[in-house]
Symmetry: C3
Subunit: 350 residues, 3 copies
């Protein structure tokens, strides 16, 4: 693809083209990071990048640059360099869009593989692809354009919307409902039995888990992640919520729209997560806790009680992030503090 074609395509996108220079109009064959880009590569510099990254623009071997507009430091550099560039309101979105142009998705409907096992009374939409050795249970519906990869097991009575992408060997249990444009990555498990056992004098009594899991539109679930169904009612993942790998979502959890949960997050049963919540890696949320809209929790945070909307929290138990940073800085000084107290005590008791 020639560079001027990329300029034209980006103008139609969401990244906000502000200015550009087409001089060499190079052929753009691949994309790469700023550190590793070579000839015929396009690369980008994110808004608010540190100075050492900005300076890489001067020496990059890339043939084209996607750069932040409204950055004087960057602007001074681009005036002097030979390579072609585009200034953008959001160069990261421009890079994402460019990857879409340069590497069009290879996903194509391949129909229903002859080794797939399809149950009774299954409704399959137009253009659905079902991979080798996949199993689709009775009374299940799969919407138009959905791709089910090899080895996927869908139990009975599942409703899967349109244009979903369901990767190999993932499992979707009975009663689960997926909206449209969801992505279920490999080996994820949707709708497994919630962990509910009641202690009795004769051992654990299982609380039957007869509820269901609902994934709204555009939900993505990472490889190996697990989302459990509840004893009664629903586990609901809100629209456009993105879940990374090896995340556990307990029975009866509800999340709002547009959340992001990084790898190895665990959310215990019945927790209520608001809209736009961001949980970094290895965060834990205790059962039945309410996490308000737009809360951000940094990595390894343990949220054990309700958090108000908009708060940024850290630590275990979670406290405001800024306070936690100061506390952590002092944690390192505990031995000195203890020594100082002992000395003060000695002096005072003289």
């Amino acid at each position: 693809m020639q560079f001027n074609e990329i300029v034209e395509k980006l103008k139609e996108g969401q990244s906000g083209v502000v200015d550009f220079k087409i001089k060499n109009n190079p052929a753009i064959l691949t994309a790469a990071s700023l550190e590793k880009a070579k000839e015929n590569d396009i690369t980008f510099l994110d808004t608010n990048s540190p100075l050492n990254l900005k300076n890489l623009i001067k020496t990059s071997e890339a043939s084209a640059l996607l750069l932040p507009a409204n950055d004087n430091y960057v602007y001074e550099i681009v005036k002097k360099i030979a390579v072609d560039w585009i200034l953008l309101k959001d160069p990261k979105i421009a890079f994402a869009e460019t990857l879409d142009f340069l590497y069009p998705s290879e996903i194509e409907s391949e129909g229903i593989h002859k080794s797939a096992v399809i149950g009774e009374n299954v409704k399959i939409g137009l253009g659905v692809s079902i991979g080798a050795n996949a199993c689709i249970g009775d009374n299940t519906e799969i919407g138009a354009g959905t791709i089910v990869h090899a080895g996927v097991v869908v139990y009975k009575n599942v409703r899967i919307g349109a244009k979903n992408l369901i990767h190999a060997n993932s499992v979707i249990h009975s009663g689960s409902t997926l909206g449209d444009e969801c992505v279920i990555n490999a080996n994820a498990v949707i709708g497994g039995e919630g962990f509910g056992f009641v202690p009795t004098s004769y051992g654990w009594k299982k609380m039957p888990q007869v509820g269901i899991v609902i994934l709204k539109n555009k939900v993505e679930v990472g490889s190996g992640s697990t989302i459990d169904r509840p004893s009664v009612g629903k586990t609901i993942i809100g629209e456009d919520t993105k879940i990374d790998n090896l995340v556990q979502i307990g029975h009866g959890v509800t999340t709002g729209k547009g959340c992001a949960m990084a790898a190895q997050v665990g959310i215990a049963g019945g927790a209520e997560i608001g809209d736009g919540v961001i949980l970094a890696g290895q965060v834990g949320v205790s059962n039945k806790v309410k996490v308000g809209d737009r809360v951000i929790a940094s990595s390894k945070t343990g949220i054990v009680s309700n958090i108000e909307a908009g708060k940024v929290v850290s630590g275990f138990p979670a406290i405001p992030n800024k306070l936690w940073l100061r506390c952590s800085a002092n944690f390192k000084k505990l031995p000195e503090m203890a020594k100082a107290i002992r000395q003060l005590d000695r002096r005072n008791s003289r």
Copy 2:
């Protein structure tokens, strides 16, 4: 099912019916939580619920209530409400039993699917069901009434008892032994190779892992959880021990009876866990550590040394829970404490 039928059935169960009122004798079609119950629903209030939940009894739209006996506050309410109710020693057990009545398990033997691959010299008991594309290795035994779902891979020389439920795409390695009435959830891995490597001058030397994993009766293993076999000897999960999703049990671990391990717990190699131990989410136990009977560890606890029976522990490294709560409360005050020390120091050095 009519409400009076539920009363009769609960009388034969373990929940301890103390009193009941049958006046409307409604048809009970479904079960729901106290917050969400509607007409024709049955719901329950757990013993020792907070006051805001107890007050929901007054306004619940449920048609029938399972309530704790010996609770004066609840008793005053039930005298005034129109809806039918049962007072019970353990309303949560009653709710679990009611779910069993209302939603009888759909599991039924479907025989051996024609696409399943069965090895040589496999013994299959009466009423066993083996799902589509499942693979059963040579010399394996599967006891009567066990259900093996689609895509499960059982290696060679595995012994699986009666009435097990093995969900889709889980994997059971050679030599593993399962008792009766176990549940293996989707994508769990039983008997994988323990993580044993010896450092040498020419790199890591693998310690061969020739031991096996034994799951006693009524063990349940969550979706995506992994239980490793040891280099020599056995990894043993005791009877009625319940393991949630994404839990790692290292090589050579032994657990007692009736334990519960919440999601994302990790137990390192050779740890010995007693009877009735409860580990909350994301707890870690270091290798070869002994955890006594009935120990409870709250979420994210890191157990790095032996814990005596009956202790409740928290934090990392684990300390008594009550001490940890006080220490955590003070952690938030570290900046103030540091400031106070500095001020005292200045005053004292004048």
Copy 3:
């Protein structure tokens, strides 16, 4: 196998035979731990074992002992005991080698199972075994002697070297490259889509993940672990690096040679891990952080900024291990410290 045969074989190995006693020359049938060994078992005592383990030599029922040379305490015992023994520079390596002799691997090529689904233009080396219901995508190469177990899904355009062992139901995505002698354990996912989403005014915009994952020779990946591919470029796991179960390796991570990552470690996108790094269970590494060669992080450590080569770190945020031990010891005293400060304050303000 007779004991004298083991002596002869170990002489040819890497464990450094220093001395031995062949008197009974017992038949060695199995291997066991020092605590559990019985007649006809061989067992070992590791270098630098605690005294209580050393004393077990006196009472062990094992028929043969692999023991550390250059240990006076052990040497005094072996002079008096009746059982046969070998003194070694590294008895743990000797035990690993002995397990190799006693339990020769059962892995044998079984050819390509008739239920396996092989795509177009797949190159399969000599002696490759492909298990039941495995799926191999178009244009994939599988090197000589590689064993692919049942239910494995390999997407298109994957290059797998020689003598790899790929366990059941694991998934390898398009473009991934595996060297030789790698082990992929059950339900692991190699090359899944990195977690990259750009916030926009209309929700999350997916950053396409068009990079690939490269596993160098002798890499091992535990059950259920996930290694993501990046948006551009490569995620690289260095030669001889060993990864335990349920580990998450984010997009664009690179690791050096000979690292070991214990269960439930999570490494966020773009982190650079040096050679010989050891991360204990549940450690987290933040994105783009650089961890120097031979760094050791104890369990649950959170590495949020660069760590110099050779450091031993602990805690969250990570600090030097020795400092962390002292800080943790003082953490337990926080309530007393707070009280002491209050008392000092009262006295000083009189």
